[in-house]
């Protein structure tokens, strides 16, 4: 089974939208020219000014320079208008209030001072909003993130729709930044210190009802169904009507802005008033952050520092600390790496192969194992009729149960209702035969990774599917052209490499052969995007891109184990470098049998370069039943229901048999880390050199989202740029002296080492 499980921490990196805070007034003078306003307009309804935002050039509103300048202009006019007693701030876009500030605004800055200044301008503007003598009601429908949220919480009152699209949050931390327009100062007062830390340190999206409970919004409005106008249009209108009522209510003192505190709130406030308690909280949060981030991410620490400064030394110091820390963070390599990943992810969510000739409406999946059922789960809720076929009732039932459980877990998280689960499942057909395959637009096979089985399956399937149907094969290492050799129509054959668990891992690696048609690729990408995947499209070859990068690193990990480093230590070294999952745990997750299989196959394909650890270590483990997590034992022992795991006691004896003597000159902790990472990175660069990869962006995205390459390093290519190709080559040469060609840098890496102007990312 294809699969590399790289786990949760990664999905944290998924900044999905424009983010950020920070308001710039740099071009103030220019934009004040009396040109007609295009982004912000307002209308006075009796005594309430309704300020509407709508960026005509984008699907979302961002706090661009233009938007800010027009907003200030409008705000001044509203303040000066005696007929106006209050204002409502609303977006005309369905699904978006303000998605944040434009990241490019920050990237355009060259020094931390410039960024600090941006932050201070933003702070000033929101301070004016906060102190406005006329109450301002923020009417929120859709995403209200980053600077958008900071804007909203500077307003006196917030009304939000209960729409699924309405989310509030401060995702700055996921870009290595902090909420830099007053967010670190206002949020703790609004939602309490623990709540504010939770929001700012995780960056997670908060839905409307949760936001109401937290005290982030005051009132909720239901989204409306069909009426005399389209639901979206009428919902915004309704939100506006309710917000206007609120604005008037505030002016007429019918709505109080100081909310009555409950008993719990009073107790909490009292407790938080004790300096000692606050110190404990800072310490506690700091400790948690250090444990999770291994100190590799500066942003969370700066967020804690900014909040602390504001609370302990007063607002002046707090706002200053926020602005300065914002400036500092914007210049860190971590932030650059995370922003790079964000841009890369946006790029990998587009279909560069165009619109397929016919959309896939019926998808059949062969094999109801972990992968097959996982693929079914992410497909069936996207309006695609899905057939899940297996050869045995037991296998099929297990797969169907997996899909059911996946959807059922979403109910527990309140992401869907039980009714939605049931109606979604009605699009899934489980079967043991090929009936209905004549209607399939695409077949994805996820059967056992054995070329003979794959050949048999492709022949069987091609006998029953219609001519337009695409045959996609889910494999982690078998070259697609070898599989396609059995096909009557290789132009319809493509590789779709999913990562396990399919519903959690965001990456999909699509592999095309020389014969794969462009329309086939377009169709596979379209299906992947529907499934919510981040997609890289790579060329064919043993291990494609991801597995090929992982194999040498795992080979090195086995050698490290043979050299006497125990699995726990190996994990600590890799996670200490920034991998969300340690190498030993990763091998267990992938499956020792799969790892052995891949190591052997790729070893044959690439020769001695892929050597390192002895493959027999893995094979012996498999023989003794240590297949990894799935068999309960691997490098570790897994007890169901227990989160903690102990090192498999039998592994020491086993490793003793294959013991190698470490060479002290390349065995320091740091050297072990670089031995593991340099082989990974070198292989990635070689994939680019050989044209397997389309570009460094896809290389970085594939490594981070598929294999858990440290997000703070931004992927292997950005790592080379930041670390320096010359320094990396220098280290590799040192290892090469000891271990030989396993560490020979590839030509492209050498080119970059020679010329420091050469960079993968501009």
């Amino acid at each position: 089974m294809a699969g590399v499980r790289a786990l949760g921490a990664l999905s944290r990196i998924t900044a999905r939208r424009y983010v950020l805070s920070g308001i710039s007034c740099r071009t103030f003078s220019v934009a004040l020219a009396m040109s007609a306003r295009t982004h912000v307009n307002y209308e006075v309804k009796e005594d309430v000014a309704v300020i509407r935002m709508n960026d005509p050039n984008s699907k979302v509103n961002t706090l661009s320079v233009r938007m800010q300048n027009e907003m200030i202009e409008v705000f001044d006019e509203v303040l000066a208008n005696d007929a106006v007693q209050s204002a409502v701030l609303i977006s005309s876009k369905p699904g978006c209030f303000i998605a944040g500030a434009d990241i490019n605004m920050i990237q355009a800055c060259n020094t931390s001072e410039e960024v600090t200044k941006l932050s201070q301008e933003g702070q000033k503007m929101f301070e004016r909003i906060e102190k406005s003598p006329k109450p301002i009601v923020a009417a929120i429908n859709g995403s209200c993130l980053g600077g958008g949220l900071e804007f909203a919480i500077a307003c006196q009152y917030r009304v939000a729709t209960k729409s699924k699209k309405t989310v509030l949050g401060t995702p700055e931390v996921m870009l290595g930044l902090l909420p830099g327009a007053g967010g670190t100062q206002r949020l703790p007062k609004m939602v309490g210190i623990p709540g504010a830390f939770d929001m700012m340190l995780t960056g997670r999206n908060i839905k409307a009802d949760k936001a109401k409970k937290m005290g982030l919004v005051h009132q909720l409005v239901d989204p409306l169904g069909p009426g005399l106008k389209s639901p979206e249009e009428r919902t915004i209108e309704y939100l506006e009507e309710v917000a206007i009522q609120c604005a008037r209510g505030i002016v007429h003192k019918k709505i109080s802005l100081t909310k009555k505190k409950g008993m719990m709130q009073k107790v909490q406030d009292y407790v938080m008033g004790i300096a000692f308690v606050r110190q404990q909280i800072y310490k506690n949060v700091n400790g948690k952050v250090m444990k999770m981030s291994k100190g590799l991410y500066p942003a969370p620490l700066k967020i804690i520092e900014s909040v602390k400064t504001g609370l302990e030394q007063g607002p002046d110091s707090g706002y200053l600390a926020e602005a300065q820390n914002f400036g500092k963070l914007a210049m860190t390599s971590e932030s650059h790496a995370l922003i790079g990943l964000y841009h890369g992810q946006v790029a990998c969510k587009k279909n560069r192969f165009g619109v397929p000739e016919r959309p896939v409406k019926n998808l059949a999946i062969l094999g109801a194992g972990l992968m097959g059922a996982g693929i079914a789960q992410v497909t069936v809720d996207k309006g695609i009729h899905t057939v899940l076929k297996d050869t045995t009732v037991e296998g099929l039932s297990r797969g169907q149960q997996q899909v059911y459980k996946g959807l059922n877990d979403k109910i527990k998280k309140k992401a869907i209702t039980s009714f939605e689960r049931d109606s979604t499942l009605s699009s899934l057909t489980g079967q043991l035969d090929y009936s209905g395959f004549e209607k399939a637009d695409m077949v994805i096979e996820a059967v056992f990774e054995d070329i003979n089985i794959k050949h048999r399956v492709i022949k069987e399937v091609e006998a029953v599917i219609p001519p337009h149907c695409i045959f996609a094969t889910n494999t982690s290492a078998l070259p697609i052209k070898d599989i396609a050799a059995a096909s009557m129509r290789p132009e319809k054959v493509i590789g779709m490499h999913y990562f396990s668990p399919v519903d959690k891992m965001q990456l999909l690696e699509i592999i095309t052969t020389d014969k794969t048609s462009k329309d086939t690729t377009a169709s596979a990408v379209a299906v992947g995007l529907k499934q919510g995947k981040v997609i890289i499209v790579v060329g064919d070859g043993p291990g494609f891109y991801t597995t090929r990068c992982l194999a040498p690193m795992l080979a090195e990990a086995v050698r490290v184990l043979q050299e006497g480093v125990n699995p726990k230590k190996l994990d600590a070294l890799t996670t200490g470098f920034g991998f969300p999952v340690g190498a030993a745990t990763l091998a267990d997750e992938v499956g020792i049998d799969v790892a052995a299989h891949v190591a052997e196959d790729l070893g044959k394909a690439f020769g001695s370069r892929f050597g390192g650890g002895n493959v027999d270590v893995l094979k012996t483990m498999v023989e003794r039943g240590f297949k990894g997590r799935k068999s309960g034992k691997g490098c570790y022992v897994y007890t169901p229901g227990l989160k903690s795991k102990d090192v498999n006691p039998d592994i020491d004896d086993l490793l003793e048999k294959f013991k190698l003597t470490p060479n002290p000159s390349v065995s320091s902790d740091s050297d072990v880390q670089y031995r593991l990472v340099s082989r990974f990175v070198n292989e990635a660069v070689m994939c680019l050199q050989e044209g397997i990869l389309n570009g460094p962006v896809e290389g970085d995205i594939g490594a981070v989202f598929g294999l858990g390459f440290p997000p703070c390093l931004g992927g292997p290519f950005r790592f080379v740029d930041t670390f320096g190709a010359d320094k990396l080559v220098e280290k590799m040469r040192r290892y090469e002296e000891v271990y030989g060609n396993h560490f020979t840098p590839c030509q492209l890496l050498l080119d970059h080492a020679k010329d420091s102007n050469k960079r993968f990312h501009k």
């Binding site: 239901d222 069909p226 005399l228 309704y238 309710v242 009714f419």
Partner: protein, 451 residues
Amino acid sequence: MKWGQPLSLTLIVFSTATRSLSTSVQLHAQVQTKSKKTLAKPGVKNIVLVEGVRTPFLLSGTTYADLMPHDLARAALQGLLHKTSLPKDAVDYIIYGTVIQEVKTSNVAREASLGAGFSDKIPSHTVTMACISSNVAMTTGVGLITAGQCDTIVAGGVEFMSDVPIRHSRKMRKTMLALNRAKTLGQRLSLIGSIRMAHLTPELPAVAEFSTAETMGHSADRLAAAFGVTRLEQDEFALRSHTLAKQAQDAGLLSDVISFKVPGRDTVAKDNGIRPSSMEQLAKLKPAFIKPHGTVTAANSSFLTDGASAVLIMSEEKALAMGYKPKAYLRPAYGTPKVLARAGLTMDDIDVFEFHEAFAGQIMANLKALDSDWFAQTYMGRKAKVGAPAMEKFNLWGGSLSLGHPFGATGCRLVTTVAHRLLKEGGQYGLVAACAAGGQGHAMVIEAYPQ
């Protein structure tokens, strides 16, 4: 608004209608004799409404409080028998509609009909389709007649909100069922020991729709907002409903109401939920569902009601053969625009409208939808709007808001009222429409029987 049941009845039936109307219909009425085109189709069986009755509709928790649902249904059946002098063995089939089922009498049609003295040879079944349950009971009957299986049908509806089944929690039920099967004392004790406080929390009948988890009131408030129906409009409509109901009651127009001696209590002869109020008083109420900015209040919604209804439906030949004077022809179908299109009628041809008023906001929204070209084009696939019914023909004897709304029983009330209004006002065509939970609806054209 669509109605799922594939009743494939043929087109309406027709004949010229009317008769002039002498009495004091306080509200004008087109009394002149009209002669409209006929909808009758050769070879299609005509189905007629012979009679319709109902128990008084009472606020739940009042005089009916100690009864059970089948008691009310039985009262309606006996009332029908009494009014029609129908022989108890002349009925081919009895169908009842209900929404919240009393578990002890889940086929309430059977319990009520046996109790009312109908022969045990007459099959009876119960149907459910939220607020249009008795409409379905009637259309099911119409279907049986059309198919040639029956000639005489009693259809009705009952709802009893004074007592509803409240269950133990699922966990508790599971434990209790396991206790039944436990063989040893030890097993029993361990099961009893497994009961926790949380298990004792009872489960109320769902107030929210299962599929959307939304309550009707909440949904009505959103619907009103979607169509821009204001609080004022809703209150005005509610006041109109109560005022008209009061006038109709005082003028003795609600002749379908039978009097009912409630065991151990007084005889009831009148609906007790009609309470004309003032706009000022209505305006004082706070929103009941969406707070604080909602528009649906307790006063502009229908209230929880106990009541039962029954109608006698027959094929025309049979009715005439038995010496009955039918009141109207029945023609069920799928929602107002469709039923009109199928009958070849327009809104202008209809003389009497009886629409179910679950919430003032809901009915106002429906009226606005009918009057909107955009809605017709976007959601109904029509070129133009159907048009809203004229208010001077609309629910002139009150409606569910004022008379009450025993969910399962309302449909028969609507149909009987149309028949009676056609007779009284001298109209030819009547239109019944009702909405139901689950996004369903039902409509029926009723044509006056030539007198």
